[in-house]
Assembly symmetry: C2
Homo-oligomer: 208 residues x 2
Amino acid sequence: MDLAGDIARDVLERIRRSKVAVPVGISSKHVHLSAQHWDLLFGRDVKPTSLRQLRQPGYFACHETVDIEGPKGRINGVRLIAPHRPATQVELSRSDAFALGLKPPVAGSGKLGGAAPIKIYGPKGSVEAKEGVIIPMRHLHLSPDEGKALGLKTGDVVRMRAGLGGPRELVFEQVLVRVSPEFALEFHVDSDEANAAWLKNGDFVHIT
Amino acid sequence: MDLAGDIARDVLERIRRSKVAVPVGISSKHVHLSAQHWDLLFGRDVKPTSLRQLRQPGYFACHETVDIEGPKGRINGVRLIAPHRPATQVELSRSDAFALGLKPPVAGSGKLGGAAPIKIYGPKGSVEAKEGVIIPMRHLHLSPDEGKALGLKTGDVVRMRAGLGGPRELVFEQVLVRVSPEFALEFHVDSDEANAAWLKNGDFVHIT
């Protein structure tokens, strides 16, 4: 065992990682619908239409929006993201959730156990998603090539320095890494996190 | 010069500081009025009345509220803080500012050069604060005794670890220290910063 060599390699890898400029993607509030809920809200005979492609391959923001309602309030015109998901998932910031009177958990996408209930209204009807609302857990997306270059794999945990040079620099601890052929290098935060660090879409952050 | 002794003392001081539990005070949106603006909005013959004392001695949240308006929206029922200030100061989160169509700077209290303009409505009239809106810069308040105990003085810069054990731990960099007989130990953040770190009023953070 060459302890000094191991440490030197680790330090070099950390320095190398810290030089990579990682673009920020801010999750504004949005809704993924199941095919069944889409049919009830918009009708079986129509399909979602693309407003713009998202950075993650195959995903698009739709022209279509829905209204959402909790015990204390309602937000109209919330953007849909396609394609459909196996289960309807509403992603809000904590600020939005407070305004609706909801206390959703921070959770990874698709982890809907314990998610908060919400009513959703579309042009053709309404549905209730009983476990529908989460606050998205921040995470770092990488393609397999990017993961290999940075020595990172799914499940690794890193720290991200954000807002460097701005008035509100901070370090996000315990950022989960996800590697997939469907992903491109991007650090995903919600709007509260972006505002706290004074970030806008496409700003750069660094692994630290 | 005893370098090893200096380093040892510095490390011990840092360890000691890191053990102090600092309560969080979250600045929700609020308004400080000048006496002149109070008179125009509420009338010369009435005085603000206390809804509750704040942690900072002598300050109180008022029963009275105002409505505020920017180019893109309006927020009704924004709480007043008394006593009056030499100049009217509206403190918003970046989320709130975006909703109103404003781009105020992050600034320390009273630093209104470059602050954003806003209209304010009260029961007796309205005023425009031409340089009125800031996003409050996070800071650590200490009494002189607390400052002495922690080896900190006004103008020092520390890092605060927040949200430890929660789902969104982070480290706020470049936190300004302010020491005054009017202050009590408290770390002040705005609602975006509180939501990013999953904090509520009275939670504890640590100098790190």
